[in-house]
């Protein structure tokens, strides 16, 4: 059984304006990144996976259960999602209450919820903010709190909608590490991002969504080698990939380290 199966999915918010057109996909283990133009349907797609929206046509199965037939509350035990805008997610007046809300609501006991929440906050280096009001914190900190809230729920499927928004270098490293660790724990991680360097570093599988359709799918190396298609989808190659192409290398280098290793081995 696939962890997520999407069959002939179509979706519109308003009649006659299709946001997603005939999507067929399965998700199992690989850490997957979805990229695409603003308005391509990325956020809509993950909201459908989480059951917040129901397909206009077609079906989505989460571990065999049709999202049309299960309540969002039941699905929440399987699918955690970090919202793009932290203000859409945060509503409690204390960080610890905010983080514990999800775990308590999917049936964790008080002790377990507290333990998981403190662990998640520690992972995001927010232990000293436990008693603060999330609204007194900066946007970047609020984003990290929303990530902690989802980690504490310990769901099998974790979705990040633009996790690196307003994060500095250290914040990005933290999030990268979290995504890798989740993948190592065999969680299914799906990430939406516009940061192409970030894509190159975390993904095993990249899906390019363009105007509601999947136009490209494969490893980061495959996807980033197709500069024309990327351009048509308002995307671009990572900086190092662009420079190496211009220098005449045939190979698609995704990171600086990869290129330096290659040069070292050649000389």
């Amino acid at each position: 059984m696939n962890r997520i199966e999407v069959k002939n999915l179509r979706f519109s918010y308003r009649h006659g304006e299709e946001v997603l057109k005939e999507i067929n996909l399965t998700f199992n283990g690989e850490s997957t990144v979805i990229i695409g133009q603003n308005g391509a349907g990325k956020t809509t797609f993950v909201k459908l996976l989480k059951g917040l929206l129901k397909p206009t046509e077609g079906e989505i199965f989460i571990k065999g259960r049709n999202t049309r037939e299960v309540t969002v509350a039941k699905l929440a035990k399987e699918v955690g999602m970090v919202f793009q805008n932290p203000n859409d997610q945060i509503f409690k007046s204390k960080v610890i209450d905010e983080v514990m809300f999800g775990p308590l609501n999917i049936g964790q006991g008080m002790e377990e919820a507290k333990g998981n929440s403190l662990k998640a906050l520690k992972l995001l280096e927010l232990s000293d903010k436990v008693d603060e009001n999330p609204y007194d914190l900066s946007l970047s900190e609020r984003k990290l709190i929303t990530i902690a809230s989802i980690l504490a729920m310990d769901t099998d499927i974790v979705i990040f909608d633009e996790p690196t928004i307003s994060q500095d270098y250290f914040g990005k490293i933290k999030i990268k590490k979290i995504i890798k660790e989740l993948a190592e724990k065999s969680k299914l991680v799906i990430t939406i991002t516009h940061d192409m360097d970030f894509v190159a570093e975390i993904s095993e599988r990249v899906i390019v969504l363009n105007q509601g359709e999947i136009i490209l799918e494969g490893s980061a190396e495959d996807v980033f080698s197709k500069s024309d298609i990327l351009k048509s989808a308002y995307l671009e190659q990572p900086g190092i990939t662009q420079l190496c192409k211009r220098l005449g290398y045939d190979r698609t280098f995704l990171t600086l380290e990869e290129f330096l290793d290659y040069r070292l081995a050649k000389n």
């Binding site: 133009q37 603003n38 805008n85 307003s166 994060q167 995307l235 420079l243």
Partner: protein, 284 residues
């Protein structure tokens, strides 16, 4: 002409014990494009708010020093006077949408109406910015029905339409697709060439290096340095400030390829490419 003069600005938020800005001084010439980089909580957003007057007029708190924009003292002017001279695009576009208008088109008119711009001129400006930010398709849509990235474009469009002499942008491209971000940088650069002064906070260092005239590196409520992109991104201790240099700079640093004239590492793809080609020729 100096468009922005900041002298020994110190500021503390109400109820907070530490200073958010610890004695900042700098000057910006008319038409300059300044990028601000630094780790989270360095004071970047607070400085933006101080330039437009939300610090201290809206946030209150303890304030000392001087901030002058277009010859007006920020402390002694009210926000509505200041809003004609200096506009800001907030970090979170959701904060910027007025909630008073039902369509994207009307949302852009909000600022213009408040300034009392003539109708004919309004229409011209609105059409220009909707085209510039690729929002024409959505002009009849409710602003709150837009995607995150579209909302961010709308926030930028609304400020550009007002044509203030100075525009402050706080991470304006954080939710934009790569080409959309590139287009915003290009549009902002062309505004600066027309004489509009630009202050932009951004984590996208490759773009900052390519488009800005000078870069301000902030840390812990102060300015570490304000200089050319090459100089800032060549700094050895840059990572200590939570900023990673553009990948082009890091590559050339690993290979020790410097620009002979400046003694600095390159910061843009174009410059890195030229120096790499020369380097490879000399080796073979």
């Amino acid at each position: 002409m100096k468009k922005i003069i900041v002298e020994n600005l110190k500021y503390r938020y109400p109820l907070s014990e530490d200073l958010a800005l610890k004695g900042i001084s700098f000057e910006v010439e008319e038409g300059e494009f300044i990028g601000i980089v630094g780790r989270n909580l360095a004071g970047k957003s607070t400085l933006c708010q101080a330039l437009v007057g939300l610090v201290p007029h809206f946030y209150k708190g303890a304030y000392s020093g001087k901030v002058e924009v277009s010859g007006m003292s920020v402390l002694n002017s009210n926000i509505s006077e200041l809003s004609r001279k200096i506009g800001i695009v907030f970090q979170n576009p959701f904060t910027q949408i007025t909630g008073a208008k039902l369509t994207v088109y009307e949302e852009v008119t909000f600022g213009l109406e408040n300034m009392g711009i003539e109708r004919k001129e309004m229409v011209k400006r609105i059409e220009y910015v909707l085209h510039l930010l690729d929002l024409e398709k959505y002009k009849d849509r409710n602003p709150f029905e837009l995607s995150g990235g579209q909302m961010q474009r709308l926030a930028i469009a609304s400020i550009i339409a007002m044509k203030p002499g100075i525009i402050v942008l706080d991470e304006p491209t954080s939710q934009l697709d790569p080409q959309g971000a590139e287009e915003v940088f290009k549009a902002v650069q062309s505004l600066s060439r027309e004489g509009i002064t630009i202050i932009m906070v951004e984590h996208k260092v490759e773009k900052i290096a390519q488009y800005t005239d000078r870069v301000m590196l902030m840390s812990d409520g102060g300015i570490v340095d304000l200089s050319t992109p090459q100089k800032i991104f060549s700094k050895d201790d840059l990572l200590d400030y939570g900023v990673q240099a553009p990948v082009f700079t890091r590559l050339c640093k690993s290979l020790n390829i410097k620009n002979k004239d400046t003694g600095l590492y390159p910061a843009t793809l174009g410059e890195a490419y030229e120096l790499m080609v020369k380097y490879e020729q000399n080796r073979s």
